[in-house]
């Protein structure tokens, strides 16, 4: 399996290189992706939980804001 492509642009020489990530670069890239995905999933779950609670209470988001103000 090939690693993802990384583009490297040297602004001093204006040279652009497209190459496969090294295994080390790929490992760092995947670790960052895993972190990002955990954050995104947590945010999506929080949104879903909020929507479910509003539905359970039978009020809108604006009405919830009024209650908390």
């Amino acid at each position: 399996m090939t690693n993802p492509i990384i583009r490297i642009h040297n602004s001093e020489t204006d040279e652009v290189i497209d190459r496969e990530m090294t295994d080390a670069e790929h490992a760092v890239y995947q670790a960052q992706q895993a972190k990002d995905n955990i954050k995104a999933e947590a945010a999506a779950q929080a949104e879903a939980d909020k929507a479910a609670l509003l539905a359970k209470l039978g009020i809108t988001a604006d009405e919830a804001k009024l209650l908390l103000s």
């Binding site: 993802p4 492509i5 642009h9």
Partner: protein, 130 residues
């Protein structure tokens, strides 16, 4: 007025040149990750139709490093802001923030990458102080 006469009762010198941010390079986004290298890598802004979530059309973000070339400073402060648009919910996301990187080395490269997939379009603009 570049340099006024004292006859007016006021005198000021010509403003110092330089110091402003200059566009150093423009890169078409491609692949899964982009690295832009320069000895003057002070700030990067990127925008376009990156496939950041699903069906995005108008994403943009930027990051700026302060004192990016000063090796006497042990921490490099940065600020960033960005916005993404998606067909998924929520339809828009806006993020802004900042922080520090614990390094006295000059910032000579900036890397951006995708959460998943690859860039499907857009450009990255590198800025620095000449």
């Amino acid at each position: 007025v570049a340099d006024s006469a004292e006859a007016t009762g006021l005198k000021w010198a010509t403003a110092a040149s330089g110091g402003g941010m200059t566009l150093l390079s423009t890169t078409t986004l491609s692949g899964a990750s982009l690295v832009v290298e320069s000895q003057r890598a002070a700030g990067l802004t990127w925008n376009g139709g990156q496939n950041m979530l699903a069906g995005n059309t108008a994403n943009g973000a930027s990051i700026l490093f302060y004192n990016y070339a000063d090796t006497s400073i042990a921490y490099k402060t940065f600020s960033f802001q960005g916005r993404s648009v998606s067909t998924a919910s929520p339809a828009t996301n806006t993020n802004a923030g900042g922080g520090t990187i614990a390094t006295s080395s000059a910032i000579t490269s900036i890397q951006i990458g995708m959460g998943s997939g690859t860039f499907t379009g857009g450009t990255a603009l590198l800025y620095g102080v000449l």
